[in-house]
Symmetry: C3
Subunit: 313 residues, 3 copies
């Protein structure tokens, strides 16, 4: 069976630990490469530096050939569906695809119909599993456990790809999760975690996980200016001083400096923001390895699909 | 002499069979790589997923370094001519270029003036030789011959890059070609092939080669809706049932589902649509090999042109 | 200390000769590759064929993995700063970045704050050091010295990235530099070089270095048409005949044919225009080598920064 990576919700706890263990090995210098020439393609239907480059570095470190795919110059411009695009890449010999797409659960129209693994690089406001996994890796590196930790997720929880799925997976792993930020962005549907005001939550949390205010998705102006946001809900220099000893700051980036977090704290000693990015490469190497290994058997230069096509030659 | 690939018309029959033979060897696992580090560039002045990715995979499978070239961010934006662009790539060490360009026979201003092979990835409404060759490969795989086959080319023959050149080459190889689709798109200039209505032609054709309705190039609306087109000229579920035993369906893709062909037929047992894409990679490997081999002699990291420049060092 | 390449002004004369010597060795076939898998990224915030492709070829010839970065699809679209973009690339494992950016001295906000070398691929109207270096290489190849040469820099000296910095470096190396072109584009601030009308200057110059009229940056129309420009300030067929014996023509390209230079002179025997492009690859290989070597010590797959992040694992 193919190991797609679609959401963290459908990963079992053991699978999560396996991925984290492999990511750690990659961070420590493990080399792993598929036995045959292997092709990957990254289909990014939305802007991204971090995620796309991170996958690209991960793929190259595994020795994969990465086929460039630019939406702007592709047949998607001629109205081609996502299914036909992926099927095309499969037919020409691509072994795995990473997809970021603005539509929630875009992958539902692919799974079971394509014969290569799909790795979700972010869908709509829904899921971003490699971001969740790199967050987990960063926390585990720091504390060596999840049980008993208190994790505050602060900010734009309504539009965040990761807020709900991180809350879900952290709870499953034994941590206590708490949401903070503007009260009006929290509602009863967030049943996994309680709401606490920022000034309370920073004092006893082990991890303060800030979320990006999505200027692209909704306007701050209706409610408050960037500087208002920073004053009321952001991690100010003053608030950082009241953080629990040994606690850390995380942020998926790109950071809006002086909005979610004071400019000078982005690279302070508590901050793991750039470390998260570094971990992202190792987590993605682990995820890609897991997907490629699930091709095993059928994986000699041709996918199962390729072989089926070849059979009729 | 340089082996460009410009049009199928100028390929001799023996050359065609040589390319198909090499493509078959590549499909069967043949490895061939140039002896030196070799650079290619793909210049696509029009949108394309299939052709561009297919060339990219073919190039990588041959071990080439592929230099990214995006028209949108190139000096073409500053008004640079195609000739100067190619000459630049040649000067910096590119050994072969693949070009898709909207202008008919764009390559006439290059051939004889540049010292690296040009591989035509499609020009205007004119030619698309690697598409023709992959069609030939697919037909030959199926029937082991061209002589005596009846091939129906159905649809937008007026705007198709491949209709006329496929008709020409298939006729030269001994097949009988017949055009179908809207009567008004056929005119006396198509002297290579007769017109037959779709309901007749599907009954005795060995290959039903559907063409894409080019929404980009002309509007259907003047004449008929997409659903009208499907009813009158498309391969419906009903028509497929009347196809000759052993006959196959082809389409260069991207497919307009339920226009040229019923959605459920795209991957039916007669369909070779995704197989055509798979064959495209092998045909392109064969074509690139043929071009690079024509650099032989002068082909030690530097092209003839590079060497001439170097001589004055 | 990191060897950035920011401007030619800050390169010592010995450093320039070292780069030219390495470039010559690369032109003669020297192989040099970093010992570990090495990643580079090219951040081009402005259109470019020549410079970007040239860096890309140079990087591949040195065995680097090049991470694609397209501004249009990056988080720069979400307002990310240049600093955060470079820091991100550093965190994910990129060892060197090449940047072209429209802002003068964009690199001032990076140097001292990032731990990977920055190679300036052109900033604002300011500097374009690899262009200067390839010009120097081309002149040195031809004459074996700089001292005593007379170099005319002709044309759009006001908007040119290279006019002032070339004048500076050539003077330091012992050549005499003279500006020509429209008198009104020359002003007292060009204290390094005298002004001379084109018809005088071509007669005794060893090098006639034409500059591109930047249609993008200012309109010719206020002053003169393209054909007026050619007649009054361009290298016409007639003027070329009066050039000194053994003298050469240079142009950074892309050329506006029949504006700065008559169409038929672009590839005449005096022209080194395409040779400059060829030299550009070798000069860039030398510059990248110099930058990567400055990572030595800390350069085992991880940069100093990467290692610092890893230490806390």
């Amino acid at each position: 069976m193919l190991n797609h990576l679609l959401t963290t919700n459908e990963l079992k706890v053991e699978e999560i630990y396996q991925i984290l263990a492999d990511a750690k090995r990659f961070a420590e210098g493990m080399e792993w490469r598929p036995e045959q020439a292997t092709f990957a393609a990254n289909l990014f239907f939305e802007a991204s530096t971090r995620t796309k480059s991170s996958f690209e570095v991960a793929e190259r470190k595994l020795g994969l050939e990465v086929i460039p795919f630019e939406v702007a110059t592709s047949s998607v411009q001629k109205g081609e569906t996502l299914y036909d695009t992926v099927k095309t890449l499969e037919a020409i010999g691509v072994h795995a695809v990473v997809i970021r797409h603005g539509q929630d659960r875009y992958f539902d129209e692919l799974v079971g119909k394509v014969d290569i693994p799909i790795i979700n690089g972010g869908d709509g406001c829904g899921h971003h599993p490699t971001q969740s996994l790199l967050d987990l890796m960063t926390i585990y590196q720091e504390f060596g456990r999840f049980a008993g930790l208190k994790i505050a997720i602060v900010g734009d929880i309504r539009h965040s790809r990761v807020a709900r799925s991180n809350a879900d997976v952290l709870t499953r792993l034994g941590a206590e999760v708490c949401f903070s930020g503007p009260r009006e962005w929290y509602d009863a549907s967030f049943n996994l975690a309680q709401y606490q005001p920022i000034d309370e939550v920073i004092e006893d949390s082990d991890v303060v996980m800030l979320l990006r205010v999505q200027h692209e998705r909704h306007s701050l102006k209706g409610n408050f200016s960037a500087s208002d946001y920073h004053q009321h809900y952001g991690l100010t220099i003053e608030r950082e001083k009241r953080m629990k000893s040994g606690s850390i700051i995380m942020h998926p980036a790109p950071v809006n400096r002086n909005v979610e977090i004071a400019d000078s704290l982005v690279e302070c000693s508590r901050s793991r923001i750039f470390k998260q990015m570094q971990n992202g490469v190792y987590v993605r190497m682990a995820v890609i390895k897991r997907s490629l290994e699930s091709l095993k058997g059928g994986f000699h230069n041709e996918t199962a699909y390729q072989k089926r096509l070849l059979r009729s030659v």
